[in-house]
Amino acid sequence: MAIKFTLNGKPVSLDVDPDMPLLWAVRDEIGLTGSKFGCGMAQCGACTMHVEGQPVRACSTPLSAIEGQKVTTIEGLGGKVAQAVQAAWVKHEVAQCGYCQSGQIMSAVALLSDNKKPSDAEIDEAMQGNICRCATYVRIRAAIHDAAKTVRA
């Protein structure tokens, strides 16, 4: 039975193993590759997507669990918060290898959508699930504070 959901605003229907993680459905079946694979067990955040606006680890979310829901990937980001975050990421030159950054940005957008003025502790809390092996954390923090200012403006 095909599983139906909304991806970046468009309806999709996939007839695949319902246990297939959302990440692989989106990458391998649909062909959107902005969301990355880093661990496959909800440890690193590289695969972070939004499901109904909430950040989820798509590597550990079976397709069956998102039936009928709205999924957003880095490719489908839009709106004031996302623009502010992506602009701040460029301004602060956050990315190094860049591989974790789709996931970082998805987590940051989710944070700022809920909380327009996060403290350092709140940033730590929201971003702790996203590993960056290049340790771009100093700039991630600065970019989030900066984006928050833009969002508030």
Partner: protein
């Protein structure tokens, strides 16, 4: 296992590959290879992008693309190399682009290696003169083209921000407009280079060339490659290093929907499927019986115990000055300590992966195309060619962005490339899958358990001091595996039994001590090892800098004052030491519960001092709050990237300072993913302040040198406040405060 004896690197690489931290300059011979004129002559209708030379392509849309012979794995080389070109070309920064150069050692060799490859923080150092010349030459060709077209003297033409102009006639043209004609101009043999005082990009901040693509999901990594008919493979490797396949049962694996084939290769059994998920389920369903006759079966505790035994005996001399034994006999005080370092995985965020496509005719393999975040193109090309029965030039390599490496993708064994090529060959031999491109992916478990670790090390240090607190003798015994032995670099980098990478940072200790002995015991285990961001300095900096603070404590000297006294003949060490100490307020009182520690270390000809500020709670828990770093890497190309690399190097080093490494039990790796091989997360990252020493010296590397000082600086901070010694990494989560 790859047979190493069969690859022969070009002669030039037998010189001083990664010649080690000790060298004061790379002493490069700048070679410059133009594309053969025939390649230039081919084509080139005005509507096509034009190669100005091997490094610079100018398109009619006015974009200038730098062909980077170095892998962009996060260190900003695309930006750094483009900065050098843009400077001499007088381009506008917004028109600059960069992409990976093809695999071709003749044209794109790393001049420090003599083969094509990235590592040892050499990208800028070995490209600086070469790309200045490439940029200046292309500029001269654009000017010559304009002069001919406008019939004006070349010396009256100016170039600025990508615009070629002739003031007298008011004529102007973009690079894009002139490129087709410029490409036909004869490159001048000699070109003047800019006076550094006139630099507009070098030494200033320019925007990273890859930021936007890396912030919107469009940057292309190997994992993102999708080719028609492409299959995905996962390889089941042996649970112990050195074990081999005895037999396997593919029945259940083949029954998994989407699994196309199961093939044995030299490194294990590969499950080939239509997509990742099927390959993963297929691999889980596979049963393999292993032959462990030749396998490493020791645990890491046992290996360390053997290292400690070995350290009781003298090793091979790596440095010998004066007579340490006599000096010890006369010393007023003897100080001794030993330090331990675990195996460490690199764990780049993008696990290893490669796409291999064979060009087949019937059962014959005619050629091969590879997509990878390729760090060692020359050995990778040779190894793939050997597996496939091709000539190296029949293997085309497309170098894409790599999702980190930290050394892991640079192996002369080309492990993951060979696996990919063997799988492609195995499925290519069968009618149904002939010619199908295959993407080999490593899972995180494969990565953590797959070896090629920073080797485990054991260090024993002994110092003699006189009654005035002067260090009169220093003996340093190092025990651990060689990274270089058994590789094609052995001939150049292992001399008289000493692997330069095992002792770098120790054998070239800059401190003025009259009697000095550095010794090495090179061990053998079945565990595969490799360079890990800053290589030997990952352990030598800790052992030497922590020991020096132990001496300072034992003799009642201030750690900075003691270093100053010992570094009078090393102005660049001294420069960063003083700068870091000053900026961190060394000597000024700290708030209660705050501690400070310092370390200074040179690696890859760059000098870095770091002061760690650590908060310590009464219960012994502690956190690194701030690192103040001072760096001297010669002429800074892009200060913001230098800062970013130092931040990154610090985070990487701090990860190994506070998180456990890899351990083995009965030869089996005990960790498997980020839940048990933990790495630094955002809440553990300190504030970082980076100060760059202004310099006109030749630029040196910055990808690695930020890493070594952080662990000893943190340990030294803890030691200063707890009066305890910290002699192993990782540091304990709870520092016990002495009463």
């Amino acid at each position: 296992m790859t047979d190493q004896s069969s690859i022969k690197l070009p002669e030039a690489s037998r010189r001083r590959f990664l010649q080690g931290a000790g060298a004061t300059s790379l002493g490069l011979v700048v070679g410059f290879h133009w594309l053969p004129r025939t390649a230039l002559a081919q084509a080139k209708a005005a509507g096509e992008p034009q190669m100005m030379n091997a490094f610079i392509r100018i398109a009619p849309d006015n974009t200038v693309t730098v062909l980077s012979k170095h892998l962009e794995m996060g260190q900003g080389v695309y930006t750094g190399l483009s900065t050098i070109v843009a400077e001499e070309l007088d381009a506008d920064w917004s028109q600059m682009r960069a992409e990976g150069a093809p695999a071709d050692a003749k044209t794109y060799a790393n001049l420090a290696f003599g083969m094509q490859g990235t590592g040892g923080s050499t990208a800028i150092a070995n490209s600086y003169d070469q790309l200045r010349k490439a940029g200046a030459t292309a500029r001269a060709m654009l000017v010559a083209a304009a002069a001919e077209q406008w019939k004006v003297p070349a010396q009256d033409i100016t170039v600025s921000k990508g615009v070629v102009s002739h003031a007298g006639s008011g004529r102007k043209a973009s690079f894009g407009q002139l490129a087709a004609k410029a490409a036909t101009m004869t490159p001048p043999a000699e070109v003047p280079l800019k006076d550094p005082a006139k630099f507009v990009y070098i030494g200033k901040k320019v925007a990273r060339i890859d930021s936007r693509a890396k912030g919107n999901g469009t940057a292309q990594y190997t994992i993102d490659v999708k080719l028609p008919g492409m299959l995905t493979a996962l390889l089941q490797r042996a649970p112990q290093f050195g074990a081999t396949v005895k037999s396997f049962d593919a029945g259940k694996a083949k029954a998994v929907p989407g699994v196309v084939d199961v093939v044995q290769i030299s490194n294990g059994v590969a499950v080939v499927a239509k997509n990742f998920w099927s390959a993963k389920l297929g691999r889980e369903a596979l049963t393999v019986e292993w032959d462990d006759a030749a396998a490493e079966k020791r645990g890491s505790d046992q290996i360390l115990a053997e290292y400690k035994e070995l350290a009781k005996k003298p090793g091979l001399p790596a440095r010998k000055e004066g007579n340490v034994d006599e000096a010890f006999a006369k010393a007023a005080k003897i100080i001794e300590a030993s330090y331990d370092f675990p195996y460490l995985a690199h764990a780049p965020m993008e696990p290893l992966d490669v796409v291999v496509k064979l060009d087949t005719q019937g059962a014959d393999i005619r050629g091969c195309e590879i997509w990878a975040g390729d760090q060692f193109q020359t050995p990778d090309q040779m190894n793939a060619a050997r597996v496939l029965g091709l000539k190296p030039e029949q293997v085309k390599i497309n170098t894409l962005f790599a999702g980190g490496s930290f050394g892991r993708r640079a192996t002369t064994m080309s492990d993951y490339i060979v696996e990919g090529a063997e799988i492609a060959k195995a499925i290519g031999a069968k009618e149904g899958t002939r010619g199908a491109p295959v993407k080999l992916m490593w899972t995180r478990e494969d990565d953590i358990q797959g070896g090629r670790y920073r080797p485990m090390y054991h260090h024993v240090l002994k110092a003699g001091v006189d009654a005035q607190g002067n260090i009169t003798a220093w003996q340093h015994r190092i025990v651990g595996q060689s990274i270089i032995a058994g590789t094609p670099f052995e001939q150049v980098m292992v001399k008289d039994g000493i692997d330069a990478t095992s002792v770098e940072g120790a054998a070239n200790l800059p401190y003025a001590i009259p009697n000095m002995s550095v010794e090495l015991h090179t061990t053998r285990t079945g565990v595969t090892v490799l360079w890990w961001r800053s290589v030997g300095s990952t352990h030598t900096a800790f052992a030497t800098e922590v020991f020096l603070d132990e001496i300072a404590a034992a003799t009642g000297q201030d750690p900075v004052a003691l270093r100053r006294k010992l570094l009078t003949r090393h102005p660049r060490h001294l420069g960063v030491l003083n700068l870091a100490a000053e900026k961190a307020g060394w000597g000024k009182p700290l708030p209660a519960g705050r501690l400070r520690g310092i370390a200074v270390h040179e690696s890859f000809s760059s000098y870095v001092a770091e002061v760690a500020e650590v908060s310590l709670k009464p219960d012994g828990s502690w956190k690194v709050e701030k690192i103040v770093a001072a760096v001297d890497c010669g002429q800074p190309i892009n200060p913001d990237i230098i800062r970013a690399q130092v931040e990154s190097g610090i985070g990487f080093g701090l990860s190994a300072t506070i998180k456990p490494g890899i351990s083995l039990s009965n030869g089996t790796v005990e960790q498997s993913n980020f839940h048990d091989y933990e790495v630094l997360r955002i809440h553990e990252m300190p504030q970082v302040e980076v100060h760059i020493v202004p310099s006109r010296e030749k630029p040196t590397g910055i990808g690695e040198p930020g890493t070594p000082p952080v662990a000893p600086a943190v340990a030294n901070a803890l030691m200063s406040g707890t009066k305890q010694v910290y002699r192993a990494l990782p540091l304990p989560a709870t520092a016990t405060k002495s009463a």
